[in-house]
């Protein structure tokens, strides 16, 4: 097997997701570990932003990763692996929402807001984050996801369109509607 040798001889960051996936498909489990380490945290943050309760994020991430690896052969590389993974996570959250018959899962639980050493700034950031989460929970799913994919994940409209099965123009419109509504709700 050539791929495991390739992944061993290069630094982790220099190996593309595509190469890691190929290595995993040839039996290199370390490639899967690298993919999880690379994308798991982003997936967890996305799910939390999209309305998952903090104590459910790990389970959802695990399920989404499991489903993704199981269906790895269906990833065509049109969108990035991360975007594809986020879509699986999003569908999972949607299924969970349906199972609970529409009960929204947004929790206003405390978690440490990382970033600054100023306690006042941290408090303000934490309050803003909670207001934003409540606001996001009130948006239609597409608007919420486009907003998160743009602001939290930094994905451009072109790729958002591929992931959500829409056009870049429509993705832009969803984003601006989301911003407009959030300004009213959060501001």
């Amino acid at each position: 097997m050539s791929a495991p040798t390739t992944t061993r001889s290069r630094t982790r960051d220099s190996i593309s997701d595509q190469e890691l996936i190929a290595a995993y498909q040839q039996g290199d489990e370390r490639a899967a570990r690298e993919l999880v380490a690379r994308h798991g945290p982003a997936l967890g943050r996305f799910l939390y932003g999209a309305g998952a309760a903090a104590d459910e994020v790990d389970d959802l991430v695990q399920e989404a990763l499991f489903r993704a690896f199981r269906r790895l052969h269906t990833w065509r590389g049109e969108a990035s692996f991360r975007s594809w993974l986020l879509t699986i996570g999003s569908n999972l959250l949607k299924d969970q929402y349906r199972t609970r018959k529409g009960r929204q899962t947004v929790s206003l639980d405390d978690h440490e807001v990382v970033g600054t050493s100023d306690p006042h700034a941290e408090l303000a950031a934490g309050e803003m984050e909670e207001r934003l989460r409540s606001g996001l929970a009130r948006l239609p799913r597409l608007q919420r996801e486009v907003f998160l994919l743009r602001t939290q994940q930094g994905i451009d409209y072109q790729e958002i369109a591929i992931v959500l099965g829409t056009t870049p123009g429509a993705a832009r419109v969803h984003y601006h509607h989301a911003v407009k509504r959030l300004k009213e709700i959060v501001g």
């Binding site: 380490a37 943050r45 990763l65 990382v114 207001r131 602001t151 930094g154 300004k183 501001g187």
Partner: protein
Amino acid sequence: MIECTRLSDQMPAVGLGRTDWTEEEIRHLTDCESCRAEWELVQAGSTIGKGIGEDSGRAEMVQAVMLRLAAHRTTRRRSAWSVAALATAAGVAALIWSGSAPIRPRSPVKTPQVAGLLIPLPELDSLPAAELDSVLQTMDESGADGSGLDTPDLGELNTDELETVLDYWEG
């Protein structure tokens, strides 16, 4: 003159630290209330759940996913084998059944009647009456307990026996 739309497009990249505002853009953000409100939302969006996601790349998570994948692979292999074995057994049963079907001249011996169906079994023609009675009794018993001759219980076969069935089918 800075356009609000261009600034809006740039906000996610700046929020994630991929680029910086120019002085002119900062002045615009200070003066334009709409852009300032959007920038606050984008900043909050860029950090949302930061403390949450950190755990999702841990070794425990990786381990859990790998274990589930391994378990899934095992289950899939087993079920694939079961389906193949069932299909094979059904094929063998069909082959045996159709092999006995060709029409031959009627014999004077009465065709055995099982559960109301008339089934021609010419192989039985040459049996003496005592042996024929014994066979018929066996068939009655197997029919009574609900287990048909064409539905062997593959769950009771071991790997070697299943392979024998497969070999038979593949010739």
